[in-house]
Symmetry: C2
Subunit: 140 residues, 2 copies
């Protein structure tokens, strides 16, 4: 539970009311929400909020490196305020996107001997797909 206001300042992002609200939502809800999820959650408390502002805000965050952009879902882009390296698992039944931590002292994103040396690397994403435990149980 970090402070959204401080988090933005730490990333050189001017903390407007809307930006703080979006960042707070991301920091408090580690569910990899879509732009629409965020809008739907915040709109009731911020009647003048527009969806375009959500998109603009997320772009500012991503460009500043304050959030991760997750494209595991074909339907919509998802966003993640956790910057630490970790993987994602999307359940093909319920659609939830789970965090998958890396085993202690092994970071798979750190080893990329296969990438040509003259390529400049800026990010790594590892995406798993399958069926989550909950959905497997309710399957029979």
């Amino acid at each position: 539970m970090q402070d959204a206001h401080e988090y933005l300042i730490a990333h050189n992002i001017h903390p407007s009311q809307q930006r703080v609200a979006v960042m707070r939502y991301l920091l408090d809800h580690h569910i990899h929400p879509t732009a629409d999820d965020i809008y739907t959650a915040l709109a009731p408390q911020m009647p003048t909020l527009s969806k375009t502002t959500i998109y603009n805000t997320l772009k500012v965050f991503a460009d500043a490196g304050a959030i991760q952009v997750i494209t595991i879902d074909e339907e919509a882009t998802r966003y993640d305020a956790t910057l630490l390296p970790h993987a994602h698992f999307k359940c093909q039944k319920c659609g939830l996107v789970y965090d998958i931590d890396f085993p202690a002292n092994i970071d798979p994103t750190a080893r990329q001997p296969e990438i040509p040396k003259d390529f400049e690397l800026t990010s790594v994403q590892i995406y798993y797909q399958g069926i989550c435990a909950k959905c497997k149980r309710n399957q029979n």
Copy 2:
């Protein structure tokens, strides 16, 4: 350069003319094309081809496990007839999606100790982003 017709039969997919054409395109062009790329390439030779057929066809292929679905690109879904495990690198300048082979006798997609045991895993994707060598050269 495999035979598209045989490839479809091997995956229990009825080899209609359109399906063969789409699969041949995928087998011959390892560029991770979008649905639109494929349509644009085939339409001149197949005047009655519709874009919906491309989408239907790609869904049939994906459901049968005959192709991989690549979501590295926020703009559009991409498709890949290479089933062997390998990673992808998207250049943020030119947009090209490169194949990244895994180093000999190491398959990073084979190690998932971090995934809960009661999760059923069906696919793994590793996505890199950055700037490709060509674009770095033309940058100055």
